[in-house]
Each structure stands twice: as C-alpha cells, then as structure tokens.
Symmetry: C2
Subunit: 509 residues, 2 copies
Amino acid sequence: MTGAESLLQTLVAGGVDTCFMNPGTSEMHFVAALDRVSRIRGVLCLFEGVCSGAADGYARALGKAAATLLHLGPGLGNALANFHNARKARSPVVSIVGEHATAHLRVDAPLTSDIATFARAVSTHVRVAASADDVGPAAAETIAAAWGPPGQIAHLIIPADYSWSQTAIQGGAVIPPVRKVPAIDKAAALLREPGTAILLGGTAANHRALRAAGRIAAATGVRVITARNVGKIASGRSSFEAPQVPYFPEGALPFLADVRNLLLVEAERPVSFFAYPGKPSYMTPAGCIDHILARRDEDGTAALEALAAGLPDIRLPERPAPASPSEDVPLTLDHIGLTVAALLPEGALIADEMVSSAGVILNHLKSAAAHEFMPVAGGSIGQGLPVAVGAAIACPDRKIVALEADGSAMYTLQALWTMARERLDVTVVILANRRYRILDIEMQRTCAQGFGRMSNDMIDIGRPDLDFVKLSEGLGVEASRATTARAFTDQFRQALQHRGPRLIEAAIG
Amino acid sequence: MTGAESLLQTLVAGGVDTCFMNPGTSEMHFVAALDRVSRIRGVLCLFEGVCSGAADGYARALGKAAATLLHLGPGLGNALANFHNARKARSPVVSIVGEHATAHLRVDAPLTSDIATFARAVSTHVRVAASADDVGPAAAETIAAAWGPPGQIAHLIIPADYSWSQTAIQGGAVIPPVRKVPAIDKAAALLREPGTAILLGGTAANHRALRAAGRIAAATGVRVITARNVGKIASGRSSFEAPQVPYFPEGALPFLADVRNLLLVEAERPVSFFAYPGKPSYMTPAGCIDHILARRDEDGTAALEALAAGLPDIRLPERPAPASPSEDVPLTLDHIGLTVAALLPEGALIADEMVSSAGVILNHLKSAAAHEFMPVAGGSIGQGLPVAVGAAIACPDRKIVALEADGSAMYTLQALWTMARERLDVTVVILANRRYRILDIEMQRTCAQGFGRMSNDMIDIGRPDLDFVKLSEGLGVEASRATTARAFTDQFRQALQHRGPRLIEAAIG
C-alpha cells in the first residue's frame, strides 16, 4: 500500500471515519486512496475554515475526533481561526496537512512555507512524518494526542513523497482514553458552607451533569453556575438551571460577588472576555478560593454524580412552553426567541453564534424542549455555520439549528454549500441587524467617544445590504426572508418540518 | 493624544494612508481615531483574507504599502493565506494587529493566543509595542521594515491599553528607500554568448524593463524570459514579448534546456511549482550557471536600462488586435481570451487567478492593448478578488479586470461586497467550469490512477452548482451570466463601459 493508504487505514483503526477536506496537489494520493479505503467519509468544503469548524462541531456533538485534510501552510492558515475555537473548546481534532515532497523543500517553491509554525499557532502537538513507513505510526500517535484528555488539535504533516511511496506498515489501533474520576471528599465538605458555588465547564455541562448538580443544590443549598467558554451546554424547560456567568464585567462581578469557594468542574476561574480601562480581569472577588473538583482531563460528570450519590432525586419545576407569536408586527429578537423556544424539537443541537443577540434568545431557550447549544468557545467569529455542518454529519438523527448573526455569517458562509451537497438537516436563522452590533457596544465601553462618519462606517455592514436569501440560494440552500413575527413563525415551522437545509433571513432592523 | 492616534499620525507621516480592516474590540481606539486623523482611508472588509489580499494588490499596483488592521490571533490567522502570497510577491504591507491589554494577558481569556506565532508564519518582522510611548516609534520601524527593499509583511502587535493610553510621542517620517543600481559589467560580457538568457522577475517585469530588454535582445541575440511568481507582469500587443517559464516541468524543462548562463533580474533559478515522482525540482539543466544581474533588493529595471544604454531603439512588430467573437455558439476559453484581448482598455490591470484556464487566456492577452497582470505569486488561491479590491483603491483611474476561476473565487468572495461599497471600477469574470479542474490535471500527473466515486466528489464543485449571479447580487454587485460567445462579448463590453463593479459568470462547462 501507499503511505496515503496506510494513513487512511490507520485513521479507520483509530476510530476516525470522517474527514472534512479541501485538498490540493500535495494531497492527491490521500484523495485517490478514499476509494480504496471505503470506511472513510470525505466531506468537501469550499474553504478551509469550514473544515476546521466542522471538525470542531463534530467533536462537540459526538465527543470524538474527525480529521481535516488541508493543503500546505496557507490552507492550514485559513483553518486557524476555527481551530482556535476548537482549541478553547478542547475538541479533539486530527489535522492532516500535506507538505511538498522532501526533495522539493530545499528549493523555495511558491507554496513553500513553514507549516509547523502555522500549526503551532493553535497546538503544541505537531508531528512531521519521517518516511512512508512512519506515516501509519505517526497517524496513530496523532489520533492518541488528539484524544488527550482533554481533547486538542493534533497536527500531522505529511510530505507528498511519503504519501505516494510504498510501505507495509500500518499504525496500530487507538483506544479512546477513559477519564479519571477525581476524589470528591474535599468538595463534599465545602458544599454546605455559605458562599460556595460549583462552576460547570468542559464536558460537564451536559444533561446528566445538570441533573446531578440539581440534586446537590437541592440538598445542600450550594449554588451551581456554568462557565462561558464551554463547547456544549445543556438547557431546556425540564432541566436544572445553572445560569451562565454574564459576558460583561458589570454583570459578572456582582453575579460572583458573594462567592467565597469556587468548585471548578473542568473549568477555570472566570475571566472577562476583554479588558476594559479600570476593570479587573478576574471576575471572582478577592479572597475567593478556587478548588478543583475535576480537572480538564478528568470526568467532571462522574464527580458530580458521586457527590449526588445517596441524595434524594428531585422534581424540577418544569417551565411552561411558550406559544409561538403569530402577530403581523415587525420581527424582534424576543419574537425569534419565543418561536425557537416554542417549536424546537427535543434533542435539537444549536450552533450559537448570535453575538450581540445571544442574551435575549438564550434566555427564551430556557423554556424550550431539552436541547444543547454550542457557543463560540474561543471568541473567534465564523464558527457557527461550520460547527452546524460538523454536528449534522455527526448526528444525522438530531435537528441542527444554527442561530447566526449576519456579520459573523460572512466569515465562513461557504458552509451552506456543504449543507446543500450533503443534504444536512440544518435550519439556519440569520439574525440580520446589518451592523457589527457588538462593536457598537464595545465602542461605548472602551472609548465612550461615540462614532464619527469614518469610524461609524467601519462598524456598519448595511451599505450595501447583504441579501442572505440570494447568497443562500447561490450556494444551493433554499431560503426565505422574514420581517414579521408571523412570517418568522411560519418559516421556522416549515424549516423544522423539512428534512434538509433551509435558511431564514430574520430581519431585525 | 492616545497611542492609537499616535499610530495613525505615524502612518500618515510614513506615507501609509490606506488601511484595509476588519476590527474588533481590541482595535476600537484605532477605529475611533480615524475621525480625528482624517488623512487615513479606512476600507472595511467582511473577512480578513480580503484585507490581506487587498493590501497585496494595493502594493503591487502602486508600489507602496497599505496597512491592514486585524483582530487578535484568529483575525490574523484568516489573513495568512493572502499574506503568504504577498510575501512571495515581496509586497510591502504594514500589518497592525490588536492584542489584549497587557494586564489581561496573564489570564487565559477565550481570545488569548500567541499572536507572534501566527505572525511568524509569513514574516520574520514581528514587533510588539512596549508602551503607549513606543507605539509611534514602533509604527515608524514597521513601515521602514515593510518597505525593505524588497518589500515584506511587517507586523506590529499593539496591546489595547497602549492604544487607549495617552502619549506625547509620534513616530518619525519614513523615507521610501531608493533601490541600488547594480554593476552590469559581468552581465554585459555574457550577453553575446550562446546559451545566455535573461530572467525577469520582482519589480523588473514592467513596461520599461521590457522595452530595455527588447533592445538588448535585438542587439545581442540574448533570450529574455519572465519568471512565474512575479507580482505584476507587463504585456500587450505593442510590448516586447518575454515568454514566461511554463508551469509544468514537461514544458519548463525543454523551454530552459539550452540555457547555459541565466542572468537573474530580481529573480531566482526557476523551480517546479510542485514535485512529481521522478521529476527534478530545478527547471534549468545541469551545468547552467546562475548570474545575479540584480538582487531582489536592487533596481533590476535600471540595470536593464544601463545594459541597453547606447543600443539602438527598436520598432516592435505590433501584433494585430483580435476581433471579439460574436457567434451565438457555446462559450469557450478561447472566446473569453479573444474578447478580453479585443476590448481591454489600455492601462488595464488584471487580477489573474485563472488557475487551469490561465494558459489559454494569457496567450490571447498578448494581443491586447498594453496592460499588466498580477498572478498568484505564492500559489495560494483566494487572492484574485481581494487583489482586485486593493488595485482599484490604489489606481482609481485604471480599469481593473479580475479573471477568476470559480473554485478559487469561493475562498474570498466577500471581496465583492467591498467592491460594491467603495464603488470600485472592477469587472469580474468568473470562469465557471464547476470543477477544481487543476486537480484533475494534478491527479493524472501524480497518481495516474484515475478517480473513483468518492475521490471524484472531492474535486467536483458542481453539486450543487454555484450560482455566481445570485452570490454577486447578494453581495451588492450587479451580475449576469454568459453561456455563448456573443453574450459574453456583449456583457463584457457593457461592464467595461460601466464605471463601478460588475460580475459576469462565464459558463464554460
């Protein structure tokens, strides 16, 4: 077999059966081998940031690694922003990058670059295959590194000649690691102390963890809260509510002001997203003590269940499902939140890149059927639509809903084409306010000097207006525009009933 | 003044008056300062790869640096692919990247990353401002570094607190460097030897250089050829023709087989774009000796003019202008080449990202009015439309024509929006063959194993079809589709007559 075939066989043996790719010449042997190693599903994306975001979404949705296949340094460069988000979400990803043939590296060809430096921007794990015989073993190492725990981006750089040369060696199978369950005695002793809070993060903001945390809270009075930069967070009207730390310091500081002991479950001490003149970076008060209940590499959910063991089960007061609005009035964020909350099917997965609209809508979603949402863990916008692609490939039986701001949608809109090609069951809602609205807020916060004409133009994305219906149709996804509450409800209901991709431009002026 | 104002004042003093930007919170003071330092033109792009490609196009068109303003590591990440092309084109670019406030860096905020590592992927010049007082001097240093010669990407990373703090210090003016004219005696002695060729590259493939080279060739019989990875190449029916080294080794090896002495004018020994099994990387024959006529940092044009001094002027045999086809027959690449050659206005600037279609069309363009074209110098696709944006901002009096393959257009299509917003005089032609056609060719070359169903799918971008008319209209640019020779001629003529952006999807099945 060729090195490329050894690579694919090793991926299959390591449980990696999906590859989001945007290949070039140096990856042609990998592509050709796809037909000879049939258990790998190749998913073509028209831009590398879609590949990296989709791998992140796949990992968050399914808890296992997909691969990406990218072309040389610049191809990897285009993937870095969403790899940054994946890194912060601790998503396992096997990042395979083609390199020039080794003999070609001494001549400075146009596409020659230092691929390892590109790779190190998002990961300390960068492995370069050393021969055709090394491709399989290097791939097995890379898969193991990606698993962690916690998950990480693990890069494997493969020179083209090692892909096209023959080898008899395949990498070994990789067993997914079992996360350790930490000791809980210290935490148990703190639960009944006043001023103690449990902070959920990492993989421990799921429905099981929430249920256990709810029992602990009911029995001990401890407060349970959720971190911000989490890969996937469970929510819904029948779930125990563990409110998220607010985004801005003005909200986060009072929210955490009374906390004296913070039990960290796969989380770190909360920090402000950005720094502001005269504001602290850490959001907990001076004197608050951090206690690690579960490290990032441990099983926080099992730790919570151990703490809850023997405590009585609880009946959660189920919040009522809202009615979806049907008035013929201009559409607002509240209407959108109510409609999504009313109609969202149980088990739905939400790709959340709502940016300035997130607060209002997530608040309504607490009344929706049980679901999970996936925020922008690393703060780099352009992940929402790609994450939806990956989640839909990972979980074909769950409805995927992408709630996406208009400005952020424009970074990786190419994701819609892959949704159309793969007939992914994704409903995309574009929250179109025609503005980098979050920067309005940030401008006031950081400067308080307001906008002049030129600076205002740098925030305004409404000249010319983006027409998301045309953009979506141009990429093969059926689309419509809603400007009233009634139209949005009708269109969102239809989109949910339809199996396959749909886009709604929700004009919220 | 604030550090941000000092930065802008220093840019103006250094001759940098245009900034392609996609700002975020850490750059808000820069944005706010735009209204107080009025001689900087801010150009908003909806994706960072448009910013970096536009700065590259601006530099190639005008021979001077623009700035880019990007948001933290991930924002810079999105710009790297086109910075790679700019690096290979030796374009001067002042890359300004906002960083978190210094006190915030010790907490691992979601958007925290190692920005310098991102930056080093495309440049060795990475300067981090050390205080508000240092912002101005650091900016002046960065501008000087960008100039070179040769030009380079010079990065300046500015923590937000240095932008918002007060300073009295502004950076000094930066004088554009004068390139040295190299000694020419050694080259002069070789000109009449059999097997000598002059290879034009760098800034020395312009009309003046071609004219001088033509006189030298006529007087001495020396052969004159042009390198491939050049930022801007002059061409047209009244120009001396210096054929480019062919792209593939099968063409390049015989093309260079007789060369014994290669006089390099801001160029390096030609290499193959990719490596192929059993093929050499260098395209010149064994025994061919390289002689540097002008280094990358020297003035190759002046060196050629010095060599031509005293030689008789020549009359070039002007090639006839072709007629534009008007038949009602399915559109082909030849029709497109003939039409563009027939109608292109003198002085037009072509952003060339035609990939597999380049050979046919560039051959026709030798019969066009005098023009220049800007190829993908670093081989990373996704530069064509952004380069057109930058060239149009740089040269508002020249017609810009972007000849763009469909696959490559999809990496940075957001550039169309900036064309619409800034009313740039760009005619975009999308060569729509619905395939990563170059990979068909490369697959045959590297594997010769043909495609199976799965591997074929990874090259096929025609399922679903991309509708570039809708995509363009969605981004605010009027568009049409041509499927016949006559329709293309009509639409291209209209687009050229119109002042402002237009897009034509040229369907070439």
